[in-house]
Subunit: 209 residues, 4 copies
Amino acid sequence: MPNRERQWSKALDIPLTVSTLIFLAAYAWPILDPDLSRGWRQACTTAVWATWGLLGIDFGMRLYLAEDRRDFVRRHPLDLAVLILPLLRPLRLLRLITLLTALNRYAGSSLRGKIGVYLTGSVSLIIFVGALAVLDAERGHGGPIQSFGDALWWACTTVTTVGYGDMYPVTATGRLVAVFLMLGGIATVGVVTASFATWLLDQIREEKT
Amino acid sequence: MPNRERQWSKALDIPLTVSTLIFLAAYAWPILDPDLSRGWRQACTTAVWATWGLLGIDFGMRLYLAEDRRDFVRRHPLDLAVLILPLLRPLRLLRLITLLTALNRYAGSSLRGKIGVYLTGSVSLIIFVGALAVLDAERGHGGPIQSFGDALWWACTTVTTVGYGDMYPVTATGRLVAVFLMLGGIATVGVVTASFATWLLDQIREEKT
Amino acid sequence: MPNRERQWSKALDIPLTVSTLIFLAAYAWPILDPDLSRGWRQACTTAVWATWGLLGIDFGMRLYLAEDRRDFVRRHPLDLAVLILPLLRPLRLLRLITLLTALNRYAGSSLRGKIGVYLTGSVSLIIFVGALAVLDAERGHGGPIQSFGDALWWACTTVTTVGYGDMYPVTATGRLVAVFLMLGGIATVGVVTASFATWLLDQIREEKT
Amino acid sequence: MPNRERQWSKALDIPLTVSTLIFLAAYAWPILDPDLSRGWRQACTTAVWATWGLLGIDFGMRLYLAEDRRDFVRRHPLDLAVLILPLLRPLRLLRLITLLTALNRYAGSSLRGKIGVYLTGSVSLIIFVGALAVLDAERGHGGPIQSFGDALWWACTTVTTVGYGDMYPVTATGRLVAVFLMLGGIATVGVVTASFATWLLDQIREEKT
């Protein structure tokens, strides 16, 4: 990373994390409280678009500062996707990946610490936003998922691949969210489960010696 | 591979890929559009058999050019199976494996690139043709799978082993398709998920250093 | 293995395999054909107990010929369990493990060949006898599994952990069979799926070079 | 571990294991027998709190004897959690982890023996207490889980991720128990299944040589 790009990244680090948290709150609030007044709902929509604008400015600036711009775009496909696809409501949530990067900084330096803090945070965030997005898509469409509690429970049974079938999406958008949740969530939960299993085997081996 | 066999393979490469794409279109169209006129339906059936004939000519020619014919048959059991079993409608779809070989050529040279392009393509193709085959078997038999959207959703929940149970096949043919989808799809999705998990762990390790 | 024990094992090899096949037929027939006449049903029961007697003679003889009898019992816990537990109908099926050993002998010498023949055979046998045992336990008890086709389909969705929920056991015996099927089947299907996934990755790596 | 701490641990080893067994019995009895008289129910509640008091004395004593107290707390987060969270009924069951440590001591010295005894014990205990906790939360709340047999069956289908959907929790507490069961159970069952699969592959490889 060239020097000026690094300086810019460092300067906008905290503003971007805060902006993402504001985005998450502005996205979540109208979904969690369906009786929200029209004024607040409007404010949330504005906040969502404002934080998107900030992302655009950041991407443009980093692109401008980069030495090889074509290479910069190729190395940041997710940033670009986040910028281009805000019209599809559930895809906006991809932006929260920046939160994971912030979370990563506060994790300890050992691999186990990283897995403990970083992955548990990731799984929680994935389940939380997956539940939000599916509730947003499903409410009022006749499926079984009609409250946030049900949506959270559905997300948990999905990422562990248990899939009881008491809760399932019925709309096309909800099913799309489910497929994303399956792809990302199953892998992340798989890493957590495998790490726990490895730790368990290590414990057993240790006792032996 | 002896020289003449290689020349033949190279010459028929593009015609066979095109023929397989025509086969896929001719197989999919009558299933996706149940109101297709009798004439078009007939044309699709003809196209399916014509592409099968082309496969037969190709296999025969490669067998003729091979140095050790017994060994050639042993090394290409799938090609033989594709040729012998076209009478069972769902098994015809095994022919699409040639599409995957074509896809493989356009994938990058790194292992990660291969997994990105090749396996994502494979998973998409497996889910797409699994949904087609199950819809073909189930439509009009009283099960819950009656539209292509439902069939696609069912295929996604099956290959990830979530299996909510809102969609499931009820006919013997549909269940046979499901078993094939489970065997092939679970393994392929497993590779993609495991690769993503490995990449995730690498990211965590990299941040550390 | 001492010499006399080996000679005995070799001499009874084929009789025991044949006896196990007779046992499987005598176990399966009354389940697959619920309208079987009382006479034939009696004959099947007799055959089941006769083959059990043969197993007892074999175990006793091998125990008698063994150098260290305490050690012999410890090294063959499954043989002993098969002998002691014939009163629990579903546990009788454990005897079919000898069939797997026979199957193992006909598999090729390469690891891939072993997995191809041996594990595919094991999975098929496990699914087949699991379906038999669950149908035997469930028929006439009000659950959804009432035909052999349904039982086979249920066994397939169980060992792959998809578990749609259109079929599930409701009796205590049926659920016990399900737990056995989950333990044995999931592990064996896991090996087959993992082998397929490894093969897939090898294919991708090979193409590269 | 300093000398005095070790002596204390050794002296309280058997009393703590017995106390945990009493706790398990006192926790399980009122759940398994809903018609238990008020007097016995009171006795069970008293026993639960008395065993908790013993845990508190043990933790306090070990903390007092430890050389570096801050480090002691950091190395025993689970012990602390068990002590602080007894008000949440299902979390009390975390205390049973001490049983697993006791079980570990009776397992053989080989890794395979450890997995055989220790993990099978862990899985059985996890399934048993998961079934208890979910039945405690669900009984009388209109969900499908209303008897201990159903709860056990539900726990088995959950830890194997089969999840038929004939049984599922409907209360918030029951779903919390389910999430714990999924996290702990899936990992432990995964280790057992993977060990069995590895053993199976070893058997196949061995036969070859």
